[in-house]
C-alpha cells in the first residue's frame, strides 16, 4: 500500500486510474450484457478443436477467412459461439449453396460429430452463445399458453401466427417453423441467424424460450382441429380454394343439371 501511495502523484497515475475505471465499467458491461451468452469452449477437447479447425479450413474458410476473421463474402465468426455454428450447419444453411438475400436450408452436409467439432473450433475463437442444454429444451416443463403469448408478440409478425412463415423485404423471408428441432429453435433465438434479430435472455428469458418451443411443438403435433389447414396461410388460401375448387364443383353440377339427355 505504501508503494501505491508513494506513486500517487506519478505522471502516469491519472492514466492508470482512467484505464482502471474503463476496465471495470467495460468488464461490468460485458458481464451484464452477456448473461445469456454461455461460456465458450466448455466440454470440447483439444482434438475436437483441432479437427474442427481442419474442417473449417476445408469448408468454410473460402468465405469466412482462414482464421474466421471474415471477408467480403462472409462475416467474422469470432464470438458467434457454438450455438450459431450448430444452427447454421445443423440446419444445412451452411455451407451456403449460393449468395442470395439469405442462406436457405438444404440437406445437412456434415454428421453430428463434425458439426460438434466445427462448433468447438468456432467456440474456441471467442466467447459466444453455447448450445442449449437438454433441460432448457424440455417441453414437458414448458407452458404453451404463455409461450403462445410470447410468440404472438415477438415472432408472429415475421413467422405468422401459426408459424407458417412469411415474407420480408427484397427476397428475404421468415421460414415456417414446423419440423424445426427444439435445439435449433432455441439457437435461432439466441444467435439471430440470417435476418432474425437476437432475442437475448433479458429480452426473452430461458424459461420463456422454452415456453415458445413448447407452444410451437404443441401446435405442430396437435394437427388441425378443423380439417385440412390449407397451409395455414389464412384468408388468401381460403379464397383461392373457394374460387377454384369450390366454384369448380358448383359449375360442374350446374352443367350436369342443365344438360339434356342426348
Amino acid at each position: 500500500m505504501k508503494a501505491l501511495s508513494q506513486r500517487r502523484r506519478h505522471p502516469l497515475a491519472a492514466v492508470a486510474l482512467l484505464l482502471m475505471g474503463l476496465l471495470i465499467t467495460g468488464g461490468l458491461y460485458m458481464a451484464a450484457g452477456s448473461v445469456n451468452e454461455a461460456k465458450a469452449a466448455t466440454g470440447y477437447s483439444a482434438s475436437d478443436i483441432e479437427e474442427g479447425n481442419k474442417l473449417f479450413i476445408a469448408n468454410c474458410a473460402t468465405c469466412h477467412g482462414l482464421n474466421a476473421e471474415g471477408s467480403a463474402d462472409g462475416p467474422s465468426l469470432i464470438g458467434v459461439g457454438a450455438a450459431a455454428v450448430d444452427f447454421q450447419v445443423g440446419t444445412g444453411r451452411m455451407p451456403m449453396q449460393m449468395q442470395g438475400p439469405q442462406a436457405q436450408a438444404k440437406p445437412v452436409q456434415f454428421d453430428d460429430a463434425q458439426i460438434s467439432q466445427l462448433s468447438a473450433f468456432v467456440a474456441s475463437l471467442g466467447a459466444g452463445p453455447a448450445i442449449p442444454s437438454e433441460d432448457m429444451l424440455d417441453t414437458s416443463h414448458g407452458d404453451s399458453a404463455a409461450g403462445g403469448t410470447v410468440f404472438r408478440v415477438n415472432c408472429a409478425m415475421c413467422h405468422n401466427a401459426a408459424a407458417a412463415g412469411g415474407a420480408l423485404t427484397r427476397g428475404k423471408f421468415a421460414p415456417a417453423l414446423a419440423g424445426v428441432s427444439e435445439k435449433h429453435i432455441y439457437e435461432a433465438m439466441i444467435t439471430g441467424p440470417q435476418n432474425m434479430p437476437v432475442f437475448n435472455d433479458s429480452n426473452i428469458t430461458p424459461d420463456e424460450k422454452r415456453d415458445v418451443i413448447t407452444f410451437l411443438k404443441e401446435i405442430e403435433s396437435q394437427g388441425s382441429p378443423g380439417g385440412a389447414k390449407l397451409g395455414s396461410l389464412g384468408p388468401v388460401a381460403e379464397g383461392l380454394f373457394i374460387w377454384t375448387a369450390g366454384l369448380g364443383i358448383i359449375i360442374a353440377f350446374t352443367i350436369w343439371l342443365t344438360s339434356r339427355p342426348s
Binding site: 404453451s144 403462445g148 404472438r152 412469411g166 388441425s224 380439417g227 380454394f241
Partner: protein
C-alpha cells in the same frame, strides 16, 4: 245454367289440401307461378347458388347465435384448447373458442357459416359477371342490376362485420385498418372513428355494435333486397340466349312446376352438400391460431377475406412517397396543423369508388352511347359485344391486380421472388393491365366473330382431306346445321352512330362526346352474315352442301 257441383275429394290428403286451398287460394298461385317458364343454361344458376348459400348462412348463423357472446368483457379462457388456457381475452373470442372446441358440432357449423359466406359473395360476383358479359342488365332490367349491385355491397358488409366478430388477432388487425381508413377522411374522420368505436380504438363497444349489424340489420336489408330482386325477375321474365325460336317476346324453357321446382330444390341440397363436404374436410378461419386481439402484435400473412382483399391490395400498392413527393400532407390551418393522409385515403376509397360508380352506371352509359332504348330479353354472346366484353375484362383485370396485391407477401414467399419486385410489377400492371385487358379481350372477341363468319360462309371443317384428280389436297367443309347457324348469324350488329344534331341543328358537347365514344367502341366490328350474302356466295361457288374448298375448277384455271 245449373249449380256447379261442389268438388269433394276422396282421400284424406285431398280433403286437407282442399280445405287449405279454399282458404288461401294456393292453387291459383301454383297455376300462375307453376307455369312460369325459365330457360335452361348452366350460367343462369349462380344467382341460385347465392340464394342457397344465403339460406345456409341464415341457418348456420342462427345456430351460432345460440352460443356466441358478443361482449368485449375480459375473461380468462379455461376451455379445452390448451395453447390458450389461462390467457386473458374478450368474452367474444372465448365463446368463439367454446363454439369451436366445446360445443358439439360447433366447429363444423362455424366452418359451414364461413365457407358459405365466402361462397355466397363469390356466387354473387360470378352471377354479376354473367349478367354483365351477356348484357342482361339492359332495359328493362337496369334497376334490378342496381339492386344486384347493392346486394354485392351488402354481402361484403355482412361478410366483414362477421369476420370481425370473433375478436381474434387477425380480424382485429382488419378492424384497425378500417379505423385507419376512417381516420384518413378529412375533417370528420377522427369523429367518425370515435363514434364508431365509442372512443379510442379498440374500446369495448365495437363487437356488440358489429353484432347488431351482422345478425339483424344487414341480413334484414339483404332479405328485403333479395325479395325485390326476385320479384323483378318474375315481372321481367328471365332472359335467354339467342337460338332458333327464341325471340324478344317469348321465353323458351321449362315450367317451374314440376321441372324447376324439382331442379332448384335438388340444387339447393347439392349446394348444401358441397358446402358441408368442404366444411367437414377443410378448416377455415382457425381463430385459435391467431390468438386474442391485442393492438400490439401483427401477424405475418394478415389478410382480409377475399371480397375485401381488393381494398387491402390497393392500400399495399399505394406508394407513401413518390420521389420527393409525399402523399401525406400537413396543412397548416389557423387552428393548427391538420394531416391529410392521401396515401391512405386515395387507395382505400378511390378504386372502390370508381369501380362501383361505373358498375352502377353502366346500363345507362351503354344505352346512351348506343342510343339503344329498346327492351332486350335476348342475351348477347360475349363475343358479339366486343366493346362491352373489353370493358368488363378491363374491370376484372384491375380488380384482380388489386386482389393479387393483397397477397403480395404470399406470392413473394411461394414463388421465391422479392416482395418489393412483386409490388413494383403490380403497380405497373395496375396502370397497364386494364388497357391491355381491354385491347386483348376486344381483339379476341372480334376474332371469334370473324371465325363465326368464316364458319357460316365456308361451312365447318370436317377433318376429311380429299385429293383432287389434279393432285391438289383440300379439306372438305360441310354446311352448318341450321340450328347452330342461327346462333352464329343472329346477333345485334352495333354500328357507330356519329354525333347527331338536335332539333335546333346544334350538336351539343355531350353529344360529341357520345359520338366519340361510339366511334371508339364500334369502329371495329364484324357484321353478321346476311342470308343474301350466304345465298350469293353459294351461287357463286355453284355447288351443293359438300363444298370442297380450293377444289373449284376456276381456282385452278387462274
Amino acid at each position: 245454367m245449373s249449380t256447379t257441383t261442389e268438388y269433394t275429394p276422396k282421400t284424406s290428403t285431398g280433403r286437407i289440401a282442399h280445405f287449405v286451398d279454399q282458404r288461401v287460394g294456393g292453387s291459383g298461385i301454383v297455376k300462375e307461378f307453376g307455369r312460369k317458364i325459365f330457360p335452361d343454361h348452366w350460367s343462369f344458376m349462380f344467382g341460385e347458388v347465392a340464394l342457397y348459400t344465403f339460406v345456409l348462412l341464415l341457418i348456420s348463423g342462427t345456430f351460432l347465435t345460440f352460443f356466441f357472446d358478443p361482449s368485449m368483457a375480459h375473461v380468462i379462457y379455461n376451455g379445452s384448447y390448451n395453447p390458450l388456457r389461462g390467457i386473458g381475452m374478450s368474452a367474444a373470442y372465448a365463446s368463439t373458442l367454446d363454439i369451436s372446441f366445446d360445443v358439439r358440432g360447433g366447429l363444423f357449423m362455424r366452418q359451414v357459416h364461413h365457407w358459405s359466406a365466402i361462397l355466397f359473395v363469390a356466387a354473387v360476383s360470378v352471377h354479376m359477371l354473367r349478367v354483365f358479359f351477356t348484357g342482361a342488365f339492359r332495359k328493362p332490367r337496369e334497376l334490378n342490376w342496381v339492386v344486384g349491385g347493392v346486394l354485392l355491397i351488402l354481402a361484403m358488409a355482412a361478410g366483414f362485420t362477421g369476420y370481425s366478430l370473433p375478436d381474434d388477432l387477425l380480424s382485429g388487425n382488419g378492424l384497425r385498418i378500417i379505423d385507419g381508413v376512417v381516420k384518413s377522411i378529412p375533417l370528420v374522420g377522427t369523429y367518425i372513428s370515435l363514434f364508431l368505436f365509442g372512443g379510442e380504438f379498440p374500446g369495448t363497444l365495437i363487437i356488440p355494435r358489429l353484432y347488431s349489424l351482422h345478425i339483424m340489420i344487414v341480413p334484414a336489408i339483404i332479405l328485403l333486397m333479395v325479395g325485390i330482386h326476385l320479384f323483378m325477375v318474375v315481372v321481367h321474365k328471365h332472359t335467354q340466349y339467342p337460338g332458333p325460336g327464341r325471340t324478344n317476346d317469348n321465353v323458351v324453357g321449362f315450367p317451374v312446376g314440376p321441372v324447376y321446382a324439382a331442379k332448384a330444390g335438388g340444387f339447393f341440397f347439392i349446394v348444401y352438400g358441397i358446402v358441408a363436404a368442404i366444411s367437414g374436410l377443410l378448416t377455415i378461419n382457425p381463430v385459435w391460431n391467431y390468438g386474442p386481439y391485442d393492438p400490439s402484435p401483427v401477424s405475418a400473412g394478415t389478410q382480409p377475406d377475399w371480397y375485401i382483399g381488393f381494398v387491402d391490395g390497393a392500400l399495399r400498392l399505394m406508394p407513401g412517397v413518390l420521389g420527393n413527393f409525399s402523399f401525406e400532407w400537413n396543412i397548416p390551418f389557423p387552428w393548427g396543423v391538420n394531416t391529410l393522409s392521401l396515401n391512405v385515403l386515395v387507395p382505400a376509397l378511390i378504386p372502390a369508388g370508381i369501380m362501383f360508380t361505373i358498375m352502377f352506371a353502366w346500363p345507362w352509359i351503354e344505352s346512351w352511347v348506343t342510343k339503344d332504348k329498346r327492351e332486350h330479353h335476348l342475351l348477347d354472346r360475349p363475343r358479339n359485344a366486343p366493346f362491352r366484353t373489353g370493358m368488363g375484362v378491363a374491370g376484372v383485370v384491375s380488380y384482380c391486380v388489386m386482389w393479387a396485391a393483397a397477397s403480395s407477401d404470399l406470392i413473394a414467399t411461394h414463388f421465391h421472388v422479392s416482395l418489393n419486385d412483386v409490388t413494383y410489377w403490380l403497380r405497373v400492371l395496375f396502370i397497364l393491365g386494364p388497357i391491355l385487358g381491354f385491347v386483348v379481350a376486344r381483339r379476341i372477341a372480334l376474332s371469334l366473330q370473324r371465325k363465326d363468319r368464316e364458319i357460316v360462309l365456308h361451312g365447318r371443317e370436317t377433318g376429311v382431306i380429299e385429293m383432287s384428280p389434279e393432285g391438289a389436297f383440300s379439306e372438305r367443309h360441310a354446311d352448318m346445321d341450321v340450328y347452330k347457324l342461327h346462333t352464329l348469324v343472329n346477333y345485334e350488329d352495333r354500328k357507330v352512330i356519329p354525333a347527331q344534331p338536335n332539333a335546333a341543328g346544334h350538336i351539343s358537347r355531350s353529344e360529341k362526346r357520345r359520338g366519340a365514344l361510339s366511334k371508339f367502341f364500334f369502329e371495329d366490328r364484324v357484321a353478321p352474315v346476311t342470308p343474301s350474302e350466304l345465298a350469293a356466295l353459294k351461287a357463286e361457288h355453284g355447288h351443293g352442301p359438300a363444298e370442297i374448298e380450293g377444289s373449284s375448277t376456276e381456282s385452278i384455271e387462274k
